[in-house]
């Protein structure tokens, strides 16, 4: 990688008043970024600021929602800079083109990409700064730089007798030549990567520090709640606020695009006043479907339209013609809510022709668009302050709550905090889409000869592009936003990336089968959908790995041996599969009354094999143990890898056992944790995670633990009961 000094180095005065050395990096050629570096529209991914008073600030371009970027990315910088990770002060990035995610050309955190895209550039940034500091010290002492070394925030003289702190060297370092291709530390010299334990944010999160969006407190702040239509797409026809306005503390009641806002001096007063509001909804454009219609429409679409071919190998039609027999199955999966424990919220303040927003968001530049859309302001007038997130899981990629808070703040002219109730959070989510999968396999001579997978359901980009397209073209005037949204869709694959949300995990089918036909029938019932932890992999993993299990039994083979025989050309798949089998003692009988199921799945570049041990006790499914073997390339923080995989297992099991958002007459039937339950402590299985040692580039871990555990549990229940469940969530009795 060649660095252009002008792009790379900036010497400025920092917030501290001291002289600062800011380093920023262009995209790294070593990473498949999927964008054209020559165009130069993406510059650095990280900023490092060293001050004369020995502080190191690191601007995090990715948000922290529990997945560990705050610790992981800081560790990468610390390793090469030769400072302890805990001595670095991370801060969340403002909105700027410099902080866009190179994979999406948007400033967003998702897709388990943070470590993979930062691995090289952050280490290069740290190493460059270290070399410049060493060169500065060597010029002070008039000794060769290669005889000096850096350690713990200081450069040490060759004779070991004296040292200079980084702060003392900053001014001189800034005048050094920027190293072209700094040599990175070899693996055996790493002090923190692969070794660092714990999290830099653990103490703040164990002492109740006010770090989340919902904790933002501003002088003179008031509170807002919004009544939204029970049926998606309905609009306010009329409302009666006479009783509401008489309630204590109420400051204003007015209509916004998404409903009716009640503003009061206190949150609880706003909530109580909201109860007194009467709203008549115009349902002419509203969703009216019920759950069974979703799946009947999917089946109809699947019958009428074979769908677009997304991967085709060999000649599946011929395989069918010559097959001894065909095996068919179809799988149905429900809508799922994100259920972050911190409900949606945002605080906004309109003053001096600009709006400031404090919010837990995964996509701050889309937050700017959301705020601009509902006010008279342009995105440049909107400042977003990103806070810690009390869970993300994809929900906070959509900034509808920023839109609402901004619309209210624009009218009120005071700082306003908007908080959603849990019921609102559950009912006004953008859901993991319900999906239908039709599978068929051809079998001849005891061998699998063909694999056909028809995926039926919506694409997420259809729902997302409204704000995403303008965010990519922030110079565009607002009246073009809707056009940009449509152009974004039309130009899919050119102006926007191809939407893989429906097909990911299906088209990468890894097993050695000569004839493949994988298709997507695009149909959208009109329910708002979004990314949900592991996205398309979450439903395709269930379809692929359940059908593989069905086929193993059809062919009279052990489910592990069957998979193994078809994947011996893929060493990384094979390794995690074999390890999970060894760790789970697959070959030995399960304890009395229990059975085991297996699944193998790669998502976000990470290979995961899982074995689930389950039973049915007192009419309930009981998951006893989940063994995971994981290959995510090189590991920055093994502790965080383990907790992400384990967290993914709990998240996946919650979906497998309980996850079911249903509609009746266009209304979501669930509301809170009693009817949309999450797995609790006393239902938790023992989870064992083994990480494969690797020299490969690191890949994501936030999501890959989720997909395989769902089919692995279903497969265990089949082994236990002999009954195959083809619809989620799984049931104890079928």
């Amino acid at each position: 990688m060649t660095l252009n000094r002008r792009d790379f180095l900036k010497v400025t005065v920092g917030a501290s008043g001291g002289l600062v050395l800011s380093l920023s990096l262009p995209g790294c050629a070593g990473i498949q970024t999927g964008y054209d570096e020559k165009s130069g529209d993406w510059k650095p991914d990280a900023w490092l600021e060293l001050t004369t008073d020995d502080k190191v600030y690191f601007t995090l371009a990715r948000v922290e929602m529990g997945q560990g970027t705050y610790t992981g990315l800081t560790t990468l910088i610390a390793e090469e800079l030769e400072v302890a990770p805990a001595s670095i002060q991370p801060r969340f990035a403002p909105v700027a083109a410099e902080y866009r995610n190179p994979l999406y050309k948007l400033q967003l955190t998702g897709g388990s990409t943070s470590i993979a895209t930062s691995w090289q550039p952050l280490r290069v940034a740290g190493a460059s700064a270290r070399i410049m500091l060493i060169n500065a010290a060597s010029s002070v002492w008039d000794v060769p730089p290669e005889e000096c070394r850096a350690a713990d925030g200081r450069v040490v003289h060759p004779d070991g007798s004296q040292s200079l702190s980084y702060g003392k060297l900053v001014e001189l370092a800034a005048k050094q030549k920027v190293p072209g291709e700094p040599a990175l530390k070899p693996r055996n010299e790493w002090k923190y990567i692969g070794k660092n334990r714990g999290r830099l944010d653990a103490e703040a999160k164990s002492t109740g520090a006010p770090i989340y969006g919902i904790d933002v407190e501003l002088e003179g702040m008031v509170y807002a709640v919004v009544s939204r239509p029970p049926r998606y797409g309905a609009r306010v026809r009329s409302f009666d606020d006479s009783a509401t306005r008489k309630m204590p503390g109420v400051l204003d009641v007015f209509e916004i695009e998404r409903g009716v806002a009640v503003v009061a001096d206190k949150y609880w007063r706003a909530r109580k006043a909201q109860d007194a509001l009467t709203i008549e909804w115009d349902n002419s454009d509203a969703l009216s479907l019920s759950n069974d219609q979703v799946f009947s429409s999917y089946h109809k679409a699947a019958d009428e339209d074979p769908g677009e071919s997304e991967r085709s190998e060999g000649a599946y039609g011929d395989a069918v013609e010559s097959a001894e027999r065909l095996v068919d199955a179809s799988y149905e999966q429900p809508y799922l809510a994100h259920a972050t424990l911190e409900p949606m919220n945002a605080t906004a303040w309109y003053r001096n022709n600009g709006i400031e927003v404090w919010a837990p968001t995964q996509a701050p530049d889309l937050g700017r668009i959301a705020a601009a859309r509902v006010t008279d302001l342009s995105p440049d007038d909107v400042t977003i302050h990103t806070t810690f997130l009390g869970g993300g899981f994809g929900r906070r990629l959509t900034n509808d709550y920023i839109e609402e808070a901004s619309a209210v703040a624009f009218k009120v002219g005071k700082p306003v905090k908007l908080i959603w109730s849990r019921e609102e959070d559950t009912r006004h989510d953008l859901y993991r889409p319900a999906m239908l999968h039709r599978m068929q396999a051809s079998v001849s001579g005891g061998q699998l000869t063909g694999w056909h997978h028809q995926i039926v359901g919506p694409q997420i980009l259809d729902w997302y592009v409204r704000n995403a397209a303008p965010a990519q073209y922030p110079w565009a005037p607002k009246f073009l936003y809707n056009t940009l949204g449509r152009v974004g869709l039309m130009a899919e694959g050119i102006a926007t990336p191809k939407d893989h949300s429906a097909i990911e995990g299906a088209i990468e089918y890894p097993y050695r089968v000569p004839n493949l036909d994988i298709r997507h029938t695009h149909t959208d019932p009109g329910v708002p959908v979004s990314w949900w932890r592991s996205v398309g992999f979450s439903h395709n993993g269930f379809a692929v790995e359940t059908f593989m299990d069905e086929l193993a039994y059809e062919l009279g083979q052990d489910p592990y041996q069957f998979r193994r025989s078809l994947i011996d050309h893929e060493p990384r798949h094979l390794e995690v599969l074999d390890r999970a089998v060894r760790l789970s003692q697959w070959e030995d009988a399960a304890p009395e009354g229990r059975a085991r199921g297996i699944a193998l799945f790669r998502s976000f570049g990470t290979y995961v094999a899982q074995v689930v041990e389950a039973s049915v006790e007192a009419g309930e499914i009981r998951v006893h143990k989940v063994v995971c073997a994981v290959d995510c390339g090189q590991v920055v923080n093994p502790d965080i890898v383990r907790d992400q995989i384990e967290g993914g297992v709990i998240f996946g099991l919650t979906a497998a056992l309980y996850g079911d958002i249903t509609f009746r007459d266009g209304q979501v039937q669930q509301s809170n944790f009693h009817d949309y339950p999450l797995m609790r402590h006393d239902q938790r299985p023992e989870v064992v995670v083994e990480i494969v040692e690797s020299d490969e580039a690191p890949t994501g871990v936030g999501e890959p633990g989720v997909p395989p555990v769902i089919p692995a549990l279903g497969n265990a229940l089949f082994a236990l009961t002999g009954k195959r469940q083809r619809r989620l969530p799984l049931k104890a009795q079928v």
């Binding site: 944010d201 164990s206 109740g208 989340y212």
Partner: protein, 161 residues
């Protein structure tokens, strides 16, 4: 109405409607943001505080029920600037992911340890099973609580010796 209560050892008199949930009084009147809003129905445990030594869900506890009572929140757990042993264990075990539920988890565990010198794993799981964690940090929570129980056992065996 005026409500009088003691929060983290400090006596407070507040003008609030008597049905206001203790959660919003603690968060917005007293500025103690460590107690979290998760569900509003006592289902998730993120708002757990101690009321006269008992763990309660402050989101569904009207403030009038705290009249004259002693309330302890996560901010009141550390004594003399030193972290509570559970908080230290939480940091050592790297328990929090998003962290949003952890105040409630710690308050539930702290109540258990105040009333049971050497709880079993079953006791621990029972004490925190009303606290949901969407990130799935459950095993580390149990391990962190167990480490505090073990260090207590070591401490008392040293005393005996």
């Amino acid at each position: 109405m005026a409500v009088r209560l003691t929060v983290n050892g400090r006596e407070r008199t507040l003008e609030v409607e008597n049905d206001t949930p203790l959660l919003w009084v603690v968060r917005d009147e007293l500025g103690l943001k460590g107690t979290k809003f998760g569900c509003g129905m006592g289902l998730c445990g993120a708002c757990t505080v101690h009321l006269n030594g008992q763990p309660v869900r402050s989101c569904s506890t009207p403030v009038e029920m705290a009249e004259g009572a002693e309330v302890v929140t996560i901010e009141g757990l550390a004594a003399d600037g030193a972290l509570h042993p559970l908080q230290r264990a939480w940091v050592e075990h790297g328990v929090p992911q998003c962290g949003y539920c952890q105040s409630g988890q710690i308050m539930s565990a702290a109540h258990l340890l105040q009333n049971n010198r050497s709880p079993s794993r079953e006791d621990i799981v029972a004490a925190v099973s009303g606290n949901l964690c969407r990130c799935g940090t459950y095993s580390r929570i149990v391990a962190a609580v167990e480490s505090v129980v073990e260090s207590r056992a070591d401490h008392s065996s040293q005393e005996e010796a």
